[in-house]
Structure formats: structure tokens, C-alpha cells
């Protein structure tokens, strides 16, 4: 039974990735003018130091997309390339490949993404659970309205507000970038502190906005759980309040929250990207922004493909983790 479930989820991942790759392949070809080709020609015309590179690039482009070959052959070559994660050359940072570009920045993004996700999920869930718990202090109830208001706004809008007040007015934090201009990344403690200082504002923007979402979701789940019969027996057993809160209420309410985590990955990624691009934080978001700005189509397509792939993989992993948390899914055996 588990095997069938696994296969199905894996199959879904493959379909998603294949769809993404296919879209990436056909979309540029839908317009009568092929933007990639145009771009290369444009760069050739404008001359500059890339002249020699242009020849190579055009050749690579031709070979890769095999414009002389029938469409279906091109398509399969393309799929093969994608399967090997060969995303082609960056149009503007030649001879770097798109993969290389991504590799340079991915560590930054993942770092912030993980940190903000862990913080906002755990703090938010705990906060939401406490708000819903009848035995918690009353003042928590006043948090609900502000949480709602904050969570409805996109993260980067919040980021703008933060930049204005904390970075510009109060000069507490730097306004943009991953580290102070001119610093050499040398892995020293001072360098990391600098990075941290630059990362705080973008991180806070994302955390505050997502926190509200998780808190409200958890609160809703706790309310549902509190109406369940096992809560009555738990109290009737004379259990300590804390035990009931954590082992009975939260433990059960967390399960749908984690499902929600899986479903919201897409939003998390897009939110993160936009925040990064706002702050100029040297992650994937900034890379994407720059690539769009300089019309580096290969990079844009490659980056989005990698993002879709990553989200698919993470979703799959979460799907696999879920049965470990919910015993009801784990075993279906009944005993007489």
C-alpha cells in the first residue's frame, strides 16, 4: 500500500517537472519572433567585447536547439538536457552557464529561506495554539486582529515599510545587499556578522507576514480539535493542563498545519524571491530580477525551471514524512 502511494506522488512530481520543461520549450517558440535568437542577434549588433563569444554562443544555440532538425527531435534533445540539468549558457554572463549562476547564489537563498520558514512556522504555530487555548492569558486575544492585518499583505510590501523606518530613518540596519560593498567574503566571524546584519530586515519581513498566516491557521485547527471527544476524556482523566495542550491538542492540530506547509511552498518561494529582489539580497530573487532586466532569457527560463523542480522535490519529501507523523496513515490494519 505504501509503495503505491509513493509511486503516485513521484509520478506527480515527474508530470509537474515535465510540464515545466515543456512549457519552457514551447513558449519561446509560440511567438513568431523567437526572443532568444533576437536577443543574441541584438547583442551581436551592439558589438562590444562579447564579439568572439557571440560566434560560439550562436553555434551552441544552433546546436542545442538544432534549428535545422525537425521539431520533435529538438524537443527530445531538450528533454534530455533538462534531465541532466543542463540549462544552457547564460546569454549575458557568457561563458558562465545558467547552472553556475544559480550555484553562486543558491546558498544565500536557501539559508534565509530555511531560517525564516523554521522561525515563522514554529513561532506562528505556537502563538496560534496559545491564542486558541482557553486557559491562556487574555491579552493574547488582542493579537488576532493585527495578525490578520499583517498577514494579508505581501511580504515585500512590508519590507518596504521596514526599510523605510528601520534602515532609512533610524539607520539601524543596512538598506540592501548581502554584505557591505567592498568587503571581501573571507569566511571570518566579522564577515558573518555583517551578513547577518544585512539579512535581518529581509528575514523579518518574511517572518512577520508568514507568522500571521501560520498562527491563524493553527488557531483554526486548535478550535476544531478542542471540540473533539478525546479532549473531554483528557480533561476527565485529570491530566495536567500542559500535557493536554501539547500532547493532545497541538499534536493533533499540527498535522493539517504541516499539510498546509506543503501546499504553501509555492507562495513561500515567490514571496522569498520578491523580498530578495527588493532588498538586493544576493540570492535567487536578485538573480532573477537582474536576468529579467538584461533580457537574459536562458537564465530566466533556467531559474524558474530549477525552482519548480525544487518545489516538486520538497513537496514529495513532505509527502513522505507525513505518514511518519500521523499513525493513522501509517498502518491500516485492524485487529479483532
Amino acid at each position: 500500500m505504501r509503495a503505491a502511494y509513493l509511486l503516485k506522488r513521484f509520478g506527480l512530481l515527474l508530470v509537474v517537472v515535465w510540464t515545466a520543461a515543456t512549457l519552457n520549450f514551447f513558449l519561446p517558440r509560440l511567438t513568431p519572433r523567437n526572443p532568444i535568437r533576437e536577443r543574441i542577434v541584438q547583442m551581436a549588433v551592439s558589438g562590444g567585447y562579447l564579439e568572439q563569444g557571440i560566434e560560439q554562443m550562436v553555434k551552441a544555440y544552433e546546436a542545442k536547439f538544432g534549428l535545422d532538425q525537425p521539431l520533435w527531435k529538438q524537443y527530445f534533445r531538450y528533454l534530455g538536457d533538462m534531465a541532466r540539468l543542463d540549462l544552457g549558457y547564460s546569454l549575458t554572463a557568457f561563458p558562465k552557464t545558467v547552472m553556475e549562476l544559480i550555484g553562486e547564489v543558491v546558498a544565500w537563498s536557501i539559508g534565509i529561506a530555511l531560517a525564516t520558514l523554521l522561525l515563522s512556522f514554529s513561532i506562528g504555530s505556537l502563538l496560534g495554539a496559545l491564542i486558541a487555548w482557553p486557559k491562556s492569558p487574555k491579552f493574547l486575544q488582542y493579537l488576532v486582529a493585527p495578525l490578520m492585518a499583517v498577514s494579508s499583505v505581501p511580504a515585500y510590501i512590508f519590507g518596504l515599510v521596514l526599510i523605510y523606518f528601520l534602515a532609512f530613518r533610524a539607520r539601524l540596519f543596512p538598506m540592501s545587499g548581502g554584505f557591505t560593498l567592498g568587503t571581501v567574503p573571507d569566511g571570518s566571524f566579522a564577515f558573518y556578522m555583517d551578513v547577518l546584519k544585512h539579512a535581518i530586515l529581509p528575514a523579518i519581513s518574511v517572518i512577520l507576514v508568514s507568522l500571521g498566516g501560520w498562527a491563524l491557521g493553527m488557531r483554526g485547527m486548535m478550535v476544531t480539535v478542542e471540540g473533539e471527544d478525546y479532549m473531554i476524556l483528557a480533561e476527565a482523566k485529570g491530566l495536567k493542563s500542559r500535557r493536554i495542550f501539547f500532547r493532545y491538542a497541538m499534536r493533533n492540530a499540527l498535522l493539517p498545519q504541516i499539510t498546509g506547509l506543503g501546499l504553501s511552498l509555492g507562495y513561500l518561494v515567490t514571496g522569498q524571491i520578491l523580498v530578495e529582489s527588493l532588498f538586493g539580497f544576493p540570492g535567487i530573487g536578485a538573480l532573477l530580477n537582474r536576468s529579467i532586466f538584461v533580457y537574459d532569457y536562458n537564465a530566466v527560463l533556467g531559474i524558474t525551471f530549477m525552482l519548480i523542480l525544487s518545489i516538486g522535490v520538497v513537496t514529495l519529501i513532505l509527502d513522505l514524512i507525513y505518514p511518519l507523523l500521523d499513525p493513522r496513515i501509517r498502518t491500516g490494519r485492524k485487529v479483532r
Binding site: I232, L233, G238, R247
Partner: protein
Amino acid sequence: MDPILSARDLSVYYYTERGPVKAVDHVSLDLQQSMRLGLVGESGCGKSTLAMALMRLIRPPGRIVHGEVLLDGVDLVKLSAEEVRRTRLSKIALIPQGAMNSLNPVMRVREQIADGIVDRDELFSIAEIEARVTELLESVELDPRVAGMYPHELSGGMKQRVCMAIAISMRPKVIIADEPTSALDVVVQRQVMDTVRRLQEELGLSIILIGHDMGLMAQSVDFLAVMYAGRLVEIGSVEDIFLQPLHPYTQLLISTLPTLEVRGVFRGIPGITPTLLNAPEGCLFHPRCLKATDACRSEETPVLKEVSFSHCVSCYLYEDNK
């Protein structure tokens, strides 16, 4: 001898947007040591609310408006939350309605039996707890291997037995069983009730058994209390209630029971239960009562009075001990 559990003039109201709902109104009853008391009535008559109130498990918008609940001489209503928590399970335990959903789906059976015992001031070793869990499971006729399972892996009857094991785990004085067999089929019902009786005899428990199946009651309890619309209308021994029902409502209840001897057309009780928001004046039953008198319609609700030895009724027909 003093009763082990006693409710004195207990009232529980639910405060809704449209006004207070008097779910339990001026109820007094005594439970003696080792006695088995049955509590019957229609759905919505307040029996479950009364059970919850006896354990101080009433949640907002409900409140215990007035009255006392004396357990072994101590008034539970006046205790602090922490003190009440200590008496639960150790002195008074609940076998809940709907055992299907009363067990935490993400905890193993062993942990759920153990955590009630563990959350006390005494410390136990893991071995002691494990031994106790096994002992409890065996006493409710369950294989000790059940301890390692999750609730969804058990059948309905087994889940009910786990709940029973939990209820007796600290040898309480009183057990309140709220419709423990309503969701089970007849065969399992019988087995479960047999186990309940055996436990009660072995441990000397006092039991309040709540239900609406009069036939089952007759087989399982010594005394029977009848509730209607939040009030206690009659209480007496099983023989008294079945052979000489005094209150018109009780009489109708008994008469609706099919028997093997009588053939004929069966009638239900005419009318519907009154809304507890705007209760009629006088005796709550008078709109449906065939023997209602003017006194029943106008005067205050009748009080519980003893008519013969340990047989009480609240009805104007017996005001002068006719």
C-alpha cells in the same frame, strides 16, 4: 451511612444569545457506597450535562449556577481548578459517551492509560507503569499487546474496554458511565456490561450509569432516576420504578416498553419536550400529562418528595401522599 457522592440542588445553565438554557435545574440525588444508580431520560433531558457537572467538566457558555456536589464530604464546586484536577480519575472517573472518538488518535494505548496515572505527585518507574498497564488491560479482558497499538487499530468494543481500563486505573470511588454501550451492537453491549458489573463487584465501586435504554437499565442497576427537561422527576429502586411507577412520565416510559406477553398497538408519548429556554409554568410535564390538574399548570415546579422508602417523586398528584 453517608452517600459517597451527592448532588444538592444543582443547577447548570447555558448562557446563549437568546437567554439562559436551564439544562439542569435544582437536581438533588445521592449515590451510596457500592450502589449502582441508573439515570434515564429522553435525549436532551440533561443527563449528560448532569454527569459533566458532577465532574466539574462544564465548559462555557455553560456554568454551574448554584448547588453542591459532595464527593466523600468535599464540595467539588468550591474547589480550585488544580484541586478538582487531582480528584478526577483518582476519586471519580468517567467512561465517556462515544468511546470511538475519545481516544487520542496519535498516542498509543499504553501512553493513554499511563498518562492519567503519571500526572500525579507520586513518581513511578517505567517498569511499574508497564506492569500496571498490563494488569489493567487484563482486567478488562484485553490482550496486553493492545498496549502498543493505536486507537484506530482497535474495534469499537475494544476501544470501550480501553476507556474502562483508564477509568479504573487509579481505583476511584465513583465511576460515571455515560451511555457506554450506545454505539455498540447488542452482543458486544452485553459483554461490556458484564465486564462493568464484574469490575464493580471486584473493586467495590459506586456507579452512575446513564442511558436511555430502559431494558438495559433494568438488568444493570439497582436504583433508577428519571430525568425530564432538566429536572429529576422520580427516583427509586428498579422494582419500585418498574412495578409501581408513580410519575405520569415514568408510567408512560414503562408502558412504551415492548414485552413478550402483550400484543397490540404501541403508542409513543404524545407531544414534544419543552424548550428549556422558555419553559412552561408549573410542572414542566403538564402539557403532555394525561393526569394534569390545575395545580400542575399554575404552581411552582413540584419538589422531590419521598412517598415510600427510598422512592421519591416530584409530582402534585402525590402532594398529600395519596
